[in-house]
Symmetry: C2
Amino acid sequence: MIKRGELANRSGCNLETIRYYEKIGLLKPPERTASGHRLYSRDDQARLGFILRGRDLGFSIGELMSLLTLVDSHDYSCGEVLELTDGHLASVRQKIIDLKKLERTLADVSAQCDGGDVPECPIIDALYGHKVVVPN
Amino acid sequence: MIKRGELANRSGCNLETIRYYEKIGLLKPPERTASGHRLYSRDDQARLGFILRGRDLGFSIGELMSLLTLVDSHDYSCGEVLELTDGHLASVRQKIIDLKKLERTLADVSAQCDGGDVPECPIIDALYGHKVVVPN
DNA sequence: CTTGAACCTGTAGTGACTACAGAGATTATA
DNA sequence: TATAATCTCTGTAGTCACTACAGGTTCAAG
């Protein structure tokens, strides 16, 4: 059983974030010492690891809640988990598509500007709508 | 000269967002009627258009502030604008790289799961750290 | 026994909005 | 002209996922 500071150190998670995860219900309220200090078990540590790895994969708090609720039910199916994961994967792919479109547009606009000392700038013109900026 | 609701309709911008942009200094305080209703000129409309197009290109409020400050100075150079744009472009490209890495990892994890009715799920295992999840 | 670190609580700040509540102004209709 | 409906005004609170602080208690080392 370790305390919050130790858990933060071992997991690499911010100290305050642990308390936050407890507040919103991602982490279960841990045991306490007689004086009120939190004590985390091995299970608690594993659960935080789960959350942090999921977070690194871009899962939202809501998605992690769903995953953990499934796990906690001890009655989840692989299919339910896959559905959540693939949903998330789809949204990541959409974000990539959107950003690539953005990148092309920005690169186009940037290429029109030769960056000199002149005060006429095609980028500013484009933003003011003198030219079409976002090609769909 | 049009009022706030009309500006919102024409620009497609949310009504409240216009007031917000004024509060943080992106939009200049517009003229007012005797009773206090805001009146927007053609210049005001063009400025909001500038902001909205910039926003669509993913510029942050801070970046738009910088761009508009340059424009307002009437003494900006094309080079300054290009620098800001290319800086933003670089951060967009980095975001794409990060998301692609994420996508590969998620796709890997997803592929390990056959989505059946069984309660053993490789995705959950991976999140619990039983297997390495993020390949750098 | 004292000092300093770690822990406790609640609350406020971030970015970029969005959404109210309650009051006053304007416009349309009867 | 009266009134009802809509629009605008202000300030403030909520969103997401944290992060940081203030002011107080407890613990561990010397």
